[in-house]
Amino acid sequence: MSEEGAAAGGAAGEGGAGDVEEFVLETAPFDPRFPNQNQTKHCYTSFLDHKRCVKARGEEFAACDYFRRVYTSLCPNAWVAKWEEQIQAGTFPGNI
């Protein structure tokens, strides 16, 4: 059962000051490569893209962060944890 809460303006971590900051909701945008209902590939491709980007450009490269945010928003945490474990163990089936 879903219940709608307050509108998208809310205190983002403010204490007792009484100020309300404007908080903009942002998430992974529409990707025309994956227009249909099945978003599995979208999640997996973003994960791969992030790992390849980090491998090619290093951890600190700012543009890789886009892929990281997309796969964090889209992929269930259980899947990400499993893939990370596989990468650590060297058994990840994808091509990084």
């Binding site: 059962m1 998430t27 992974a28 099945n38 928003s73 269930p76």
Partner: protein
């Protein structure tokens, strides 16, 4: 009937349903009346064989009726497939026998949502539907929900928004909806 709509698409679906059902009831009552009155009418005209005019009439009129039904239908069909940029993504994961929700856009918020059993229920709760932690959704926002399952096939639905999608392990089904009513 349907539950009251909580999203603009569901409102459109309900309007279309009412529009089509009205036409159907009109047609069925006209035809039913003709049938009934013919059955109980003992006057027979033995010279009445065919009539081009009448047949033309009752071919053209239904084609207009069908166009009248079909145009809103096509419009709604394409409306349902519109492309959106959502404001928030919520992952819905089905387990046996509860749902867990993940809100990962900013902070990684995860929680499980169990049904409240009837013996623990209070009088102001929905029996068999109410849960301990409800999935909260921002108002006046486009929401994207990605539905999957951890073990077996499940199905996730919100009837008042006209949403239903299967939760398949290993697959992420995306459902978009716009919230315009609280509740």
């Amino acid at each position: 009937g349907f539950q009251n709509a909580s999203s603009p698409l569901m409102e459109q679906l309900i309007f279309f349903h009412d529009h089509t059902l009205t036409i159907l009831i009109l047609i069925i009552s006209i035809v039913g009346f003709n049938l009934f009155s013919t059955m109980h009418n003992t006057n027979i005209d033995q010279h009445m064989m065919e009539s081009q005019g009448l047949e033309l009439f009752w071919t053209i009129i239904p084609s207009f009726i069908l166009i009248f039904i079909g145009l809103p239908s096509i419009r709604l069909l394409y409306l349902l497939d519109e492309v959106y940029n959502p404001a928030i993504t919520i992952k819905t994961i089905g387990h046996q026998w509860y749902w867990s929700y993940e809100y990962s856009d900013f902070i990684n918020l995860e929680f499980d949502s169990y049904m409240i059993p009837s013996n623990e229920m209070k009088m102001n709760m929905f029996r068999l539907i109410d849960v301990d932690n409800r999935m909260m959704v921002p108002l006046n926002s486009q929401v994207r929900t990605l539905i999957t399952a951890a073990d077996v096939l499940h199905s996730w639905t919100v009837p008042s928004m006209g949403i239903k999608a299967d939760a398949v392990p290993g697959r992420l089904n995306q459902v978009n909806f716009y919230t315009n009513r609280p509740g």
